[in-house]
Symmetry: C2
Subunit: 569 residues, 2 copies
């Protein structure tokens, strides 16, 4: 390809609208352009990379035994009503009416459509297992689209769905997808972790893993053990329990101590005023779960994990109580709530229960209580894991290592759905014994366009992109220093033609630009191998440089072609 003909509008300046490094690079290197918030056009270089990602995904899906199909973006609202998600999904689901006023949704995912399809086409255990996938455009009306392709409103996904007779079958399907995902992300050159995750709104009874690309800009937090291979999304991460320090002041054995704490409502203020460490405080928050108030108590140095609370209660909604409700329930302004004497259900975190004694709000304005002993004063509490794991927590798996934290971008997700959708849409099959049963499902997603962003978050330097070879838009960039120098141009064209003929994707910078511009663009678009044809062209000597190395080799034409062809390294 001749660069003079390629629509590759590079930018010198960092576009002000782009915060994320990947977004900046994609705009600067001319991979994408925005059409509307969260909606992008892929220019030729971006499209090439996207197709390579698609191809890697496709090959690994096929290898895992999945069959490619293509489902529509327009989905009848009825299906979403049957699954119960039409209301649940909220404003992220894009809705429209056709000319006959029939309601449709633009698919953000395809559980309903695939379940209805398989319900109609599969009726016997003999047709199972079946695993289907598609690579298709999805729509989600994100409240705050941002970071370019990381959080867009129209994006490319691979979604796969497995249908099995029983849970054992699902475990096998899940495992084969899990392995395929590892191969895919590895082939794309991504640094990632597979972490345990919460099932979220998609539902499902079984396990679920997220594949997280490690990147500071990631919106998720991953807790992982520094000793074993445990890793989980913070939403889900467990931890090993430990005893905390004993709070001691002048109090008698089991007697509560009344502490005057005027206008002291916050943990930091308490720590300062009382001279105790935060891990001796019992932070008490009043929530409303499906309309009923509850109290959640965690240690002062911990954070409530609302997902864990919600899951434990099987609640559809969970919100912090407003000021009025809190005052009504505790009899005190916000900031003085405590578990002692409350008449609503109390959920106390393990770490609170591990305290010998601590300090909590007194449910009275300007007072806290000291010497609160879980074994004496919290006997009515429901004990569980209600908090986020924290850096330094013991690993819940090996019990030896400590948890550390990283930021991650979710690029893939595998779910054991079980029968959630097959029950709702009545997708049943006959077992070998002639019994009708709901299909056991799994679902498996990869954000293909997001994956492109994630790779770029990891593969760049101050000069631009450094593509992994597997997904680079071209393998070789041939750059004559001066396009007006006929000897240089002839040799450059000769090299480009030889490589192209050998099936090597080659870009030739035939533009009449200054060398500085050409090299800057070349670094920016990050093609793995650059062959510079300069002043030694007449002697058949060129310079070869790999984008991920600083070293430049002055070598002969034939050697350069061999290396660029991958014959020699």
């Amino acid at each position: 390809m001749r660069q003079s003909q390629l629509l590759m509008p590079t930018l010198r300046e960092v576009p002000s609208e782009a915060e994320a490094a990947s977004h900046q690079l994609m705009l600067r290197a001319g991979l994408i352009r925005q059409l509307a918030a969260g909606i992008y056009t892929y220019l030729p270089l971006g499209r090439r990379v996207l197709r390579k990602l698609e191809q890697i995904v496709r090959e690994e899906m096929d290898r895992a035994g999945a069959q490619e199909i293509l489902m529509p973006a327009m989905q009848p609202a009825e299906l979403w009503q049957q699954s119960g998600r039409y209301g649940e999904y909220g404003p992220e689901l894009i809705r429209l009416r056709d000319r006959h006023e029939r309601e449709f949704a633009l698919g953000p995912t395809h559980e309903e459509v695939i379940t209805a399809l398989v319900r109609d086409e599969v009726s016997s255990y003999r047709q199972l297992p079946v695993m289907l996938y598609q690579i298709q455009t999805k729509f989600r009306d994100e409240k705050r689209p941002r970071y370019g392709l990381l959080r867009g409103r129209e994006f490319l996904m691979k979604d796969a769905y497995s249908f099995d007779e029983d849970w054992e079958g699902l475990h096998r399907s899940y495992k084969s997808m899990y392995e395929a995902y590892n191969r895919i992300f590895t082939r794309c050159g991504l640094y990632y972790r597979a972490v345990e995750a919460d099932a979220g709104s998609i539902g499902g009874e079984g396990g679920t893993h997220e594949f997280m690309a490690l990147a500071d800009i990631g919106e998720d937090t991953i807790a992982s053990c520094d000793s074993c291979d445990y890793a989980a999304n913070l939403e889900k991460a467990e931890y090993g329990t430990e005893l905390a320090a004993h709070y001691e002041q002048g109090q008698k054995q089991d007697e509560l101590e009344r502490l005057h704490t005027p206008a002291i409502r916050k943990i930091e203020q308490l720590v300062q005023a009382l001279g105790v460490s935060a891990d001796l405080l019992m932070k008490t928050l009043i929530y409303v779960a499906d309309g009923s108030p509850i109290a959640v108590v965690v240690r002062g140095d911990h954070e409530v994990n609302e997902i864990k609370v919600k899951n434990m209660l099987s609640a559809a909604s969970l919100e912090l109580a407003d000021q009025e409700t809190t005052e009504r329930i505790t009899g005190a302004p916000v900031g003085f709530a405590g578990p002692v004497g409350l008449s609503i259900p109390i959920l106390a975190d393990f770490a609170v229960m591990a305290l010998e004694a601590g300090i909590a709000g007194a449910n009275e304005k300007d007072y806290h209580l000291g010497n609160v002993k879980p074994g004496v004063h919290l006997t009515n509490a429901q004990v569980g894991d209600y908090r986020n794991a924290a850096a330094g927590d013991k690993c819940p798996r090996c019990g030896q290592g400590r948890l550390t934290f990283h930021r991650g971008i979710e690029v893939g997700h595998v779910f054991k759905l079980g029968t959630k959708y097959s029950e709702a849409l009545n997708a049943r099959f006959l077992t070998a014994a002639g019994i009708e049963q709901p299909l056991i499902m799994g679902c498996y997603g990869i954000g293909v366009s997001r994956l492109l962003s994630a790779v770029l978050e990891q593969h760049s330097d101050s000069n631009g992109i450094v593509w992994p070879e597997s997904i680079a838009p071209y393998r070789v960039h041939v750059v004559p220093v001066s396009s007006k120098d006929q000897v240089q141009m002839d040799l450059a064209m000769h090299i480009a033609a030889r490589l192209s003929d050998a099936g090597i994707e080659t870009l030739l910078d035939d533009r009449d630009e200054r060398p500085g511009v050409k090299f800057k663009d070349s670094d920016l678009i990050g093609i793995p191998i650059r062959i510079v044809v300069g002043k030694h062209a007449a002697e058949g000597i060129v310079e070869l440089k790999r984008r991920n190395e600083t070293q430049v080799q002055a070598i002969g034409l034939e050697e350069a072609i061999s290396i660029a062809s991958g014959i020699e390294n």
Copy 2:
């Protein structure tokens, strides 16, 4: 691929909802399933064929120098308002609002988006020409979706757009696309004609061709010369003028004859009542064009071509006048209109003017006029081509041949758009002389999913599909007569493995079904080469049959593999 694992639900019965042969075949062979009216899921076999079509299109676009991009489906309404099409497009344009109440359209085509993109990224003649394409899902809310993929509401298209400095450049771009289209349709095994067409609502000043797959079910009519290579859509087809016969009764030289024709309003009735042939009648229709009435006169055996009338008048709307308007203008009920004495503009077709004398309505109830002479009574008419070409018309190009008619399915369309969109969206560039000018555009579409239907309209027999090799879902179908016979199964698996290893797409029917079922399915899904492993398996003898031939060859294993691999024929 093992057939037992493939989701390929074949149907014995012809589905009652499918009229078109291609639609029936696609349902019966398990290529597609309907999700909603005009909205389909592609099952594994259908997806495979679709991908082959995509690949052929992609290769030929690349070869023509076009660059692949990917534009969004969601398009801001503002762009469509700028081009003026937001209103014009009517209910076929699917509209929606996002969570911020901003209006979007789901793209049925991408002229606006690409013009805005190129406007922002191309500013100099040095960046021209540029030709961009995408293969992408389109949306159009058809009033009557039907014939399966032939007229759907969500469909796959390839759309390409060229940008040139001048019209000469556009002619070159157009030519290279025209040639690419010929290569594409030829490679797909399609019987087609490239025909001259009307530019329609997409607008544009230049020429336009449609690529028509020949098929009885086609919604378009193609007129083509039986002697030269002239071919045109009926909407557009011209014809060579000829003199018609002279109407003779007892009338004097130029005197009108008053004929009593009580309640005789239709051509057929007149022919019968007066004993004259229809080609002597002057059919007069009253229209309302952009609010003003006009009369169109064509010969009794011809049909008014409203597109030609509309184009001649440069009218935005053209409709037949209602009964009341017709009566007010002609002073007579519908059925007795004629050109003589009318005070509104009259458009008379060439063929009418070629009559020496004819019969027309008298603008009086129950009367017609005879001896109407164009040269005497129609001197105020605007003469032109206002009718459909008719079978037997002289060819307008060679003047020797006669026009014949075929039905066609539009599978591709190439347009010289000129500056319609670049003017509307202000897409300008600087010429070498430093002058700012609008870009000269062309646009080029192929209905990829429709192409699949068109191929099937042409490639089937009473037993099912007969795929052209280039787009068959598999090349070879290996069918053991009895999957329970270990010798047969072993040999079949051996053949399938050998072929697959050689990169030949092979489907193995390993199902435990009766031979009749297997052969019926095999014929239905139409894989080009079938290798049957039967009772001579032990001797290494198999039967090879091509789907498009009736002959069966009993041959040795190695020879069968060679033939199936394409090494030997």
